[in-house]
């Protein structure tokens, strides 16, 4: 297997994202997690040729970072979930920060600081006292962002400079996370409660579908197939990865048990949706190949398809590769938005590993 690149945080870590809208650079943002120190965002640039990581540290004037997500329409805007720790309380909040333009800045890298744009919690009613669970940028609508709290969620529009509340809704059961569905004109938000995943139409604020028992225990992550409507992957505490057609909530399209502990993250490759990453607290990152439920059933890309009929053998269904560089639970894994064959994973002990899809499979998919 090709060698990987490893980077270590000094603290624990759970937050990782790839810089969106960036096609030149392979760049990841990692957030630090320590209740006794201020949070930092490490910007990691990976060079494919030299296999080197160059880092840049941005300070943050708030507590530890639980989630970081780069906005797809402005690659220098980061949505963060952070833990605000007071004397006798800890509260999860969320906000948007801007990565400073490094060219104009004369200050040494270590001293740089993210520029706070907005803290959504300050915009709420002062009595509002719920923990923020998740922040999710809308994949296609400029300036649209959803913030998910324990029992409520809000949709904001920040394009104009100041966040404008577009809609909000309550949930009867406690939410764990939420995610925009990239299809259906982006009008659907999927929310996760303990074992259920349901889709809410943002125009009517009505539930359009629901899978009440997606997993036996807590559902940890949801990801929509970027190229195939209605298709969605989930993972959870029953060690399973499941694939759903949201129109059929009774039975999953596929059920994979490959991890030996809870599965925390599932991610479709943005370009080749037969590739899928999962990460779990068994310290493993798995790369799956699922041509049977992908949008390219024969194993070759829609783009290159057409005039030339490829007669290469179809890709085999199953686990393409196991990555065991982590020694602690892996809570986050992300594909690079710049290079579809590169991905990063972050384990709790603060280790970031940047890996590639094995070359042989890459060629099988491309050719």
């Amino acid at each position: 297997m090709e060698s990987c690149a490893i980077y270590g945080l000094e603290t624990q870590g759970r937050a990782l994202c790839s810089q969106a809208g960036e096609e030149e650079i392979i760049r990841f943002f990692v957030g630090t997690l320590s209740p006794r120190a201020e949070g930092q965002i490490h910007q990691l640039d990976f060079s494919d040729e030299t296999n080197q990581i160059t880092r840049k540290i941005f300070k943050l004037k708030v507590g530890e970072v639980w989630q970081v997500q780069c906005s797809p329409w402005a690659s220098n805007l980061l949505g963060l979930c952070y833990n605000e720790i007071r004397e006798t309380s800890a509260k999860m909040k969320c906000g948007v920060w801007k990565v400073p333009n490094s060219d104009t800045s004369e200050i040494p890298h270590q001293q740089q600081e993210l520029v706070l744009q907005w803290k959504f919690d300050d915009l709420h009613d002062p009595r509002f006292n719920e923990n923020c669970q998740y922040i999710d940028w809308h994949p296609s609508k400029t300036g649209r962002v959803a913030t998910i709290y324990s029992t409520q969620y809000f949709v904001w529009d920040v394009e104009g400079g100041e966040p404008k509340l577009i809609s909000s809704s309550k949930s009867t059961s406690e939410m764990y996370m939420g995610k925009w569905n990239p299809h259906l004109d982006g009008n659907q938000l999927a929310t996760v409660t303990t074992t259920a995943v349901s889709g809410v139409d943002m125009r009517s604020m009505k539930q359009s579908w629901s899978i009440p028992l997606a997993h036996k225990f807590q559902v940890r992550d949801v990801d929509f197939n970027p190229n195939k409507q209605y298709c969605m992957a989930t993972c959870g505490d029953d060690c399973a990865i499941r694939f759903w057609d949201v129109r059929n909530h009774k039975e999953p399209l596929k059920d994979i048990k490959a991890h030996s502990h809870w599965v925390w993250r599932v991610r479709y490759n943005g370009f080749h949706d037969q590739l899928l990453l999962t990460a779990g607290s068994d310290s493993r990152v798995l790369l799956h190949c699922l041509p049977t439920i992908s949008s390219e059933p024969k194993g070759h890309s829609i783009l290159s398809d057409g005039e030339e009929e490829v007669n290469s053998p179809p890709l085999e269904e199953g686990i393409l590769a196991k990555y065991e560089e982590h020694e602690d639970a892996v809570y986050a894994v992300e594909w690079s938005t710049g290079d579809p064959w590169i991905f990063a994973s972050l384990s709790y002990d603060g280790r970031v590993v940047i890996n590639r899809v094995p070359k042989s499979f890459k060629y099988k998919i491309l050719l």
Partner: protein
């Protein structure tokens, strides 16, 4: 000649120059040798013996010469005497030849004088023959008429056939033509009469055989006749079939039904076949191609009827009622007899008809009955096993300690049922049954119906049942464990035992190279059972583990550990509950999967100690290492180092099938869940203290359940380390304080 002087070292009969009897004897060498080797005495001895021997030889020679000379003189005398005798003989011979010449002369004279008379006589006799023939011809029409009137068709035909020859002989006399025409008219009538009989249904095939052979000799076509003969038989046979069909109902006793089938229909059919083949096939009068043609016709005819017949037979014999009845010994016997009777009749028919064999149909039918019988047994075993499993589920929840008895009774019932089913099936192999003599049938039945259809299927079903059990909510988790144990027991002894006993009783040879039917491997069965057992235990473990996880989660996730404002008063409620649950669970698991090794004994010994003592010994042993970990505020480093030296442990991994490993796996799942939950919290100092107490409390009680204490401690350490990481202002309680709190 005897000569001891030949005694050299290497005595060989050829080429020894010292052997006085040999051909290569060289006197000089011999003399030299004995002079040089022998002592004077021995030389003297040798010389005298040689002289003696030479004298003996001389006298022998003289007698021989004298005898021969005598014989020679005798021979000369004899030859001289013969010469004079021959001269006399020659004279007599000359006289004899003269006399014989005279006799020949006389005889030829007599002959020539008689010739004329002889010619006359032969001419007269020729005329007489011709007249006789003519008389026969003139009488022929009348004779034929006479025979016809007497219905003596055989004679008529015989006469006609004779007459036809003459008629052809005298073709050139027109006066005789009339007779021919007359004859033909009469014969035509005979034909018509003979054909009339074919339409008559009352006539049996045997009656018709006579007609057929007559008609054949009259030169009718064999194909047409054959068809007529069969057409005559058809309605009657169809009628028979109809009556069988009517009898094909559960109200008609089997014996009566079989009488209709074998006694009437098959007998009639056999008669038809016998007559037909007598007339058209086994006769030498028809040539080869015609016989083969007839054979085909017969085959088509019979096959059609038999197809119908076997259809009805099968419908009745494999009907559900019969198979239900089969459970009753008497009825069963009757069915087997019926099958045997059918088979015997079919075999008999096979001997009647060349090239066509209905016996395989009979065997096939019998085989199908055995297969269905095996299937019924299988269904029964399945049903009763399912019921037993359900009952055990109820029983286990009512009396958790009774698992061993339940296990024993399920296993015993299973084996008993299989045995009795096998015994029943064995009745099909009784020596007095004709079909049981057929080796192919026996093999097919033994392998397909009995071995594969019953025994192997039962074990396959068990494995399948176990797999589906996990999805079925009717059964309690303990049943999973119980079945797992049952499967292990079955896997170890019963599978091999049952398969072997079937193979010996039904004479199946596993290693037979040209075994026609596929034999399922015993090892594949045991593997399937073993895998199912493991899967069941694994599922049990993950289910119980997750239950523990949920308890621990609720201890952590629901509470706000940041706002705890006082020191812990003791271990939290949920931890106590966890230990309680584990204690009852251990008892249940122990009753099904007790630890087999001696460690279980030690463990129980130790667990009888007060927990206080075990705690103090623990503290004594581990005392120095643990505080040192806790006092450093870089627990991350410590756990990382620990990880370097320990192997990666799968939380939801494979489980060994004995109590301590099952318990270990459950505890492992629970503790790992607690760790994950701790990492999601932020806690204040007091919260941390609570965790400290809880962790020690767990440590004090959990070690009893597990087989890998060091792993248990490392997990607990990790929980504590993670809690310290997640603490805002971590300070730890004194070890002694924690201890006293944990014991509350």
């Amino acid at each position: 000649m005897k000569m001891e002087g030949s005694g050299g070292d290497n005595v060989s009969s050829h080429g020894n120059p010292y052997d006085i009897n040999g051909t290569n004897f060289i006197p000089e060498k011999f003399i030299k040798k004995i002079i040089s080797e022998y002592s004077l005495n021995k030389l003297m001895e040798t010389e005298s013996s040689l002289i003696r021997q030479i004298q003996d030889l001389d006298s022998d020679m003289q007698t021989l010469v004298y005898e021969n000379y005598n014989k020679f003189i005798l021979a000369t005398d004899t030859i001289r005497k013969m010469k004079t005798d021959f001269r006399e003989m020659e004279d007599r011979m000359a006289l004899l030849s003269k006399n014989i010449a005279m006799i020949t002369d006389n005889s030829s004279k007599v002959c020539s004088s008689l010739k004329e008379k002889r010619d006359n006589v032969s001419r007269l006799s020729g005329i007489n023959d011709l007249l006789k023939k003519l008389k026969f011809l003139f009488e022929l029409p009348n004779k034929l008429k006479q025979f016809c009137e007497d219905n003596n068709y055989e004679e008529a035909v015989k006469c006609y056939l004779n007459g036809v020859e003459f008629v052809n002989e005298f073709k050139r006399f027109p006066s005789l033509e009339a007779i021919k025409v007359d004859c033909q008219h009469i014969v035509q009538r005979i034909r018509d009469d003979l054909y009339k009989d074919f339409v008559d249904e009352e006539k049996s095939s045997q009656d018709l055989t006579r007609n057929v052979s007559l008609l054949l000799s009259l030169g009718e076509s064999s194909a047409g006749l054959g068809k007529r003969l069969l057409d005559n038989a058809q309605p009657k046979l169809n009628e028979n079939l109809e009556s069988i069909k009517i009898a094909d109902s559960p109200n008609v006793p089997l014996e009566e039904f079989m009488e209709l089938g074998c006694g009437i229909f098959l007998s009639n059919l056999s008669l038809v076949i016998a007559s037909f083949s007598q007339a058209f096939i086994q006769t030498t009068e028809l040539d080869e191609t015609l016989r083969l043609e007839s054979q085909e016709t017969l085959k088509r005819f019979t096959t059609e009827l038999m197809d119908n017949f076997m259809g009805i037979m099968e419908h009745r014999l494999t009907s559900e009622d019969e198979l239900n009845n089969i459970q009753d010994a008497e009825q069963r016997d009757e069915l087997i007899k019926a099958l045997d009777r059918l088979y015997r009749r079919l075999m008999a028919m096979g001997t009647l008809m060349p090239n066509t064999d209905f016996a395989p149909c009979g065997l096939d039918l019998t085989f199908r009955v055995t297969k269905m019988d095996a299937d019924m047994s299988l269904q029964r075993i399945k049903a009763s096993f399912e019921k037993a499993a359900k009952d055990s589920s109820v029983e286990l929840s009512a009396h958790p300690g009774s698992s061993q008895e339940i296990l024993g009774s399920i296993l015993a019932t299973l084996v008993l049922q299989m045995k009795s089913s096998l015994n029943k099936l064995q009745e099909f192999c009784r020596a007095d049954l004709q079909f049981a003599q057929n080796v192919d049938f026996r093999q097919k039945m033994a392998v397909v119906s009995v071995r594969e259809g019953l025994v192997v299927s039962v074990f396959k079903y068990l494995a399948e049942f176990g797999k589906n059990l996990i999805q079925d909510e009717q059964y309690s988790n303990l049943t999973w464990l119980l079945l797992a144990k049952l499967y292990l027991d079955i896997e170890i002894g019963t599978v091999e035992y049952m398969v072997n006993s079937v193979e010996t009783e039904f004479d199946i040879r596993r290693e037979k190279r040209n075994q026609m039917y596929k034999l399922t491997n015993v090892s594949s069965l045991t593997t399937a059972l073993n895998e199912t057992a493991k899967a069941l235990v694994k599922e049990f473990v993950s289910c119980q583990g997750n239950y523990i996880s949920e308890l621990l989660k609720s201890a952590v996730l629901r509470n706000d550990l940041m706002s705890v404002s006082h020191e812990p008063k003791g271990p939290s409620q949920q931890m106590k509950q966890v230990i309680e649950v584990l204690t009852t669970l251990e008892k249940q698991v122990d009753s099904i999967f007790p630890d087999s090794d001696s460690s279980s004994f030690l463990r129980s010994e130790r667990s009888s100690d007060s927990s206080r003592r075990s705690l103090s010994t623990n503290a004594g042993n581990r005392g120095p290492s643990r505080p040192s970990l806790w006092s450093h505020f870089d627990p991350n480093m410590a756990t990382n180092i620990q990880k370097l030296f320990s192997e990666r442990v799968e939380i939801f991994g494979n489980v060994e099938l004995h109590k301590s490993d099952i318990m270990m796996a459950i505890v492992k799942i629970g503790l790992r869940a607690l760790l994950e939950c701790m990492r999601q919290k932020t806690l204040c100092n007091y919260g941390l203290h609570q965790i400290q107490v809880d962790v020690l409390y767990l440590q004090m009680y959990l070690w009893r359940f597990v087989n890998n204490e060091s792993f248990l401690y490392s997990l607990l350490d990790e929980i504590l380390a993670s809690s310290i990481q997640r603490c805002v202002n971590p300070t730890l309680l004194e070890a002694s304080t924690v201890e006293s709190l944990a014991e509350k």
